[in-house]
Each structure stands twice: as C-alpha cells, then as structure tokens.
C-alpha cells in the first residue's frame, strides 16, 4: 500500500514538473484563428457588428467576446461557415444588427443634390468615394462594398443604395429545378415565345 502511494505520487510529481516546464517552454504566441475568421468575413467594413471593421470583429469572435451572428452582409451563410470553423452551434443571424441583402448593393450619389461636403468621403472605410470640397462626389462602383456608412453623415440625403446591375457576364446558371426570376421579363418582348414551366 505504501509502495503504491509512493510510486503514484512520485510519478505525479515528475509529470507535474514536466508539465510545468512545458507550459512555460511551449507557450503559443499570437492567434492564427483570427486570420481564419477574418478571411470568412465579407470585408465590407460596415461596422454593423458594432466593431470598427471586420478584423476587430474577428478578434472579438476569437476571444469569445462576440457571438458569430452579428454580420448582416455575410448573412446566414457566413454564420454557418464560422460555426463550422469554430465548431460551435449555428446561430441565426441576429436581426438587431441588420438584415441580409441577397442582392449586392452599391452606393450611388445623386449628382444634382450633392453639395460637396466631403463628409461621406471621411466616412467611407474603403476610400471608394471620389471628390473634393464644394465639388460633386462620386462613388467608385468597383470599390464600393455597400456598407451604408456614407448614408448617415450626408446632410442632404443624396446617397442611395442601389442593387448592382446584373450583366450577362456575371449571370449565373441555376441548378436544375431552381427557378430564378429573370431580370427582364421575356414575355414582355414582342413576339416572345414561352417555354419552360
């Protein structure tokens, strides 16, 4: 009995020392998970998650400070991907932070209303607005993420969010059986023939 106690406790002591050493020696610095989370976020930098940008939100998720369902631009699919990555339960998108738009949007400045105040330029997180004081501003459509951050500062309310025009080039085939509302109604065209179901 004494022998049993002595052996076990001696082993425990030794392993304790090894663990104590290992804990100091092999301490992991940094957090690569943040990068992985960040890469799943849509990078709209919209701040709807209440964090200033996507990366801060990624850090917050990694630290367990924020739930994964606060990113409306990413939508439910991003929540699923995050849940997958972090191996946590899939949550439903938190509606408090906004709704997900299926159609990608870009900002559009109504030219006749813009007074050239530059306030939207300061608000844009990705430098997608061009212009100078007292001159009309314009959006660089290719760079705009549709984050809506330029809407509130505009004093004359001249910015709209409009859906990106779908072109033939970025038209997508649908899976068999899925129906898509085509943007142009073909039946309106003269001489159209109908087919399909």
């Amino acid at each position: 009995m004494l022998i049993a106690i002595l052996t076990i406790s001696a082993m425990a002591g030794i392993f304790g020392l090894i663990l104590g050493y290992a804990a100091i020696r092999f301490k992991v610095e940094g957090n690569p998970i943040v990068d992985q989370i960040d890469s799943l976020l849509p990078q709209t930098q919209c701040g709807q998650c209440t964090y200033p940008g996507c990366r801060p939100y990624a850090e917050a998720i990694a630290n367990g400070e924020a739930p994964i369902n606060q990113c409306p631009p990413g939508g439910q699919s991003t929540v699923v991907l995050l849940a997958d990555l972090l191996d946590v339960e899939v949550l439903e998108l938190n509606a408090e932070h906004g709704d997900h738009n299926d159609v990608p949007l870009v900002a559009f400045i109504r030219e006749d209303t813009c007074i050239g105040c530059t306030l939207c330029i300061q608000a844009c997180p990705v430098d997608a607005i061009l212009g100078s004081a007292k001159h009309m501003h314009t959006i660089i459509i290719d760079e705009c993420t549709g984050c809506e951050l330029c809407l509130p500062p505009c004093p004359v309310d001249c910015i709209d969010l409009i859906p990106i025009k779908q072109t033939i080039e970025d038209w997508k085939w649908s899976l068999p059986g899925e129906t898509l509302a085509s943007l142009e109604s073909s039946s309106e065209q003269e001489g159209a023939i109908t087919y399909g179901h």
């Binding site: 425990a12 392993f15 304790g16 663990l19 104590g20 290992a22 804990a23 439903e92 509606a95």
Partner: protein, 221 residues
Amino acid sequence: MNKEITQNGLWTNNVALVQLLGLCPLLAVTNNTINGIGLGVATMVTLILSNTLVSLIRGFIRSEVRLPVFVLIIACVVTVIELLMKAFFFDLFLVLGIFIPLIVTNCAIIGRAEGFASRNPVGASALDGFMMGLGFLGVLALLGAMREIIGSGTLLANADLMFGKPAKALTITFNEDYSGFLLAILPPGAFFGLAILIAAKNAMGVRAKDRDTLIDPTLNT
C-alpha cells in the same frame, strides 16, 4: 440556473444523445435494462463526485496540471466505486465487467469537469453531475429496455443482481415462446437502437420548434 442545469443534463445537452460521449460502455452493456441501469448509476455517482471534487478545488488549480488532476480525481473515484461494487454487488460487477474501470475514460466525465465544474460553484456542479448522469442513465436504461424487449422479449431480467433475490419478481416476460431477435442484443442492435433514440429526440426537437413558431410567428430566435 438550476432549471437550466436540469434541462441541459436531461435533454438539451444530453451526454449520450447530443454530446455522443461515453458511447463505448453505452453500446456495450445495454443488452438489457438492468445492465444499463447498473452502469448508468455507477457513471452518475462518478459524475456527481468528480464534479463536486473538481469544483471544490477549482479556486486554486493550476492550468498546466489541470487535466492530470481531473483525471486523477476521476480515476480515484472510479476505482473506489469499482471496489465497493465488487464488495457489495459482485454479481452485477461480473456482468458489467470491464466497463466499470472504463468509466475513467468516459469523456462525458472529464468533459463536465473541464466544461462545467471547473468554473461553477460546488452546488451547481454537483447538480450538473447529477443531472448529466441522470440523463445518461436514462438513455442507458431506455436503450437497454428497447434491446431487451425486442431481443429477448423480457424486461428487467436479472433484476436480482442489483436489487437482491426478491427483485426476481420484477422481471416481465412478454411471450414465453419468443424466439428472440438476436440483432437487437448483438452490438449492431446497440447502434440501431441509439440511432433511433437520437432520431426520435431530434424529431421531437424539430416538432417543438415548429410548434413554437406556430404559436408565435414573431418569435424568431
């Protein structure tokens, strides 16, 4: 808090049906009800004791030796239970055999120690251990009953092993001529049975959710 712990252990986060932990003994011993109850009780006692002890030392535990200490506690508890069982329920021990020592490696126990007891007060931890154990016990007993009824047409056979001679009367035989459905008693039956239980639980979950949304369409969590 207490209600939540109870609900978690028995249903929402059930060890066997949701966390899918401790499947090895679960699948192996549940070929009749009494075996299931026996192992379930042993696991439950272990869970309560280990959760309590872990919770007691949670204040001054060092993180690097945290897991070895938990394992040590669990191993000691299990060994003591095994010894006690050998001393007082020897016949049942003969049936449950190696699965009693195997409780040490039941992930559910270390999982609760790490996930709950190490960051909650003693009372809550003990309750969590009890409820988690009860949930596990419930599944074991249910699965054991299912397999016993289908496999050999009886219920609570060998009850005397656990409750002593008079308990023999507890055994219910449904059909004397039942030739038995071996698959249910053999290991594959355990998988089928567990799968059916999990499916049933999920189906009930889905249905409950549907009902919630029916009652209150604005409730969208």
